[in-house]
Amino acid sequence: MAMLEIEGLNAWYGASHVLHGISLAIAPGEIVALVGRNGAGKTTTIRSAMGLMPKATGSVRFAGTELLALPAHARFRMGLAYVPEDRRIVPGLSVRENLQLGLVATDGSIDERRAIDEIAESFPRLKERLDQEGVTLSGGEQQMLAIARAMIAKPKMILLDEPSEGIMPVLVEEMGTLFRRLRDTGVTLLLVEQNVEWALRLADHAVIIDQGEVVHRSTAAALLADKAMQDRYCAV
């Protein structure tokens, strides 16, 4: 069974119809890259999966359960996490408190101190700055914090919206290593990216969206080799 299965997804911003029947399936424990031009509907697709669109129809099944009628907070509690493009580190809160936010909705089965210690080991840059205000971190560190916050409650799947955007290359490489390690522990990742080559090197499968429709599905390796296809749909 697919981890996330989207079928015939339509979504609207007010009167403007932005997704036209998106269908895609993601197997457990794989990384899927969702690529395409700016405004193609990539962000809208994951926002719909997370329950953040004002209007969406069709079907989004997560581990077999239909999500579309559920509010966003219920989707998170089922094990679906989301890292928004703008990171949304909460101002006025320390790095540690921002991490704690990732645990406030859990049932208490996760020991908070241990979870933060564990996550600090995976993110050495955050470990040194746990008591610093989160928004004072560099852009790349804030991105790491947003990812750490989304994974601290051990979700089954994480939706990531352009995690590499505006981040220095050394951190992007670190992030790639982290994503591979997450996949190896069984976490499923859906990666929306403009950094197409980087995403395709990481991913197992790739999906291209254009004008609110899926126009291509293949293995990531096949798309990586198909420069013509990349140029046609992903060129800036």
Binding site: M50, G51, L52, P71, A72, H73, F76, R77, A81, Y82, P84, R88, V90, P91, G92, L93, E97, Q100, L101, G102, V104, A105, T106, R149, A150, A153
Partner: protein
């Protein structure tokens, strides 16, 4: 003018400020979290005073009134949020404002129908009457008690906000409700509780104020104006600001009453104008709030 009189008047101002803090905190916490300017807040202060009075007269004990009324009115606040205010989220910001404005009138009239238009004196409980000699002057025991209760409530509130999981959710949710949703928090439930908490605080202010002033259906109107001034001076949504500005306004009113009684009600507006000229966002307000 002797130092003792000034000390007593200063203390009187602190006691007045303590009541204002209870009202302004509720106003500020509700605005900061829900973005709702609660115009029924003064009326709920008055309803709190009446509820305290009623419970005290039924049980024969001020203490029951002090304990039960804020909780009961806080629950009533939860009902108001759930039934009247929640359907208005996502609509114009004017809608909850108009609704609570009207609700304030409904509450005042309802109390008038049940308890009459005349004020009801609220006896200071015997164990809290009299004055205490603190060495620097004689102070009414009841006012000392009011300041003590407010101080305890502030400490509890601070601990709750800074040291508990719910407090973390409230602090974060006030800044970014959307991220809380995708971290699994049912933010509507949090708003409900915060509204109830804010209303409970103003009701507590009402019960505490009852023995210090005449309890009447109009008593909320002036308090609402004063609390607005306090939240504007302190900075909308800032809890520390509400505390500092509450004391500032209380003391300013009280000290002005000593030298120029006819200026006492105007001084807080002058203070507000002065603060706004220098810091438009208020003393502790953030320039840009999400």
């Amino acid at each position: 003018m002797d130092a003792e009189l000034i000390a007593m008047q200063l203390f009187s101002g602190i006691a007045l400020g303590a009541i204002l803090i209870m009202v302004a905190l509720g106003l500020s916490i509700i605005f900061g979290m829900l973005g709702v300017v609660n115009f029924a807040h003064g009326a709920l202060f008055m309803v709190g005073a009446y509820a305290g009075l009623w419970v005290a007269s039924r049980t024969g004990s001020f203490w029951w009134g002090l304990l039960v009324a804020p909780i009961a009115i806080g629950l009533f606040g939860i009902l108001i949020e759930r039934v009247l205010i929640r359907p208005l989220y996502g609509r114009s910001v004017d809608d909850p404002l108009l609704l609570t404005f009207g609700l304030g009138y409904v509450l005042v009239e309802a109390v008038r129908i049940v308890f009459g238009s005349d004020g009801i004196p609220f006896q200071t409980p015997p164990e809290l009457s009299g004055v205490a000699d603190l060495g620097i002057g004689f102070f009414p025991v009841y006012r000392l008690f009011v300041v003590g209760v407010v101080a305890i409530v502030l400490v509890l509130l601070w601990l709750g906000l800074e040291k508990t999981k719910f407090g973390l959710i409230v602090r974060a949710g006030a800044k970014d409700p959307q991220i809380m949703r995708v971290l699994g928090v049912d933010i509507a439930k949090v708003w409900l509780l915060v509204f109830g908490l804010g209303v409970g605080l103003t009701a507590l202010g009402g019960v505490l104020a009852a023995p210090m002033r005449n309890v009447n259906p109009e008593m909320g109107a002036l308090v609402l104006a004063e609390a607005f001034v306090v939240t504007v001076i302190g900075g909308m949504g800032s809890l520390l600001g509400a505390v500092v500005a509450g004391l500032l306004v209380g003391v300013a009113i009280s000290m002005t009453a000593l030298v120029a009684p006819e200026m006492a009600t105007i001084v807080m507006f002058a203070l507000m104008a002065a603060v706004l000229l220098v810091r438009p966002q208020g003393l502790f307000g953030k320039k840009s709030r999400a």
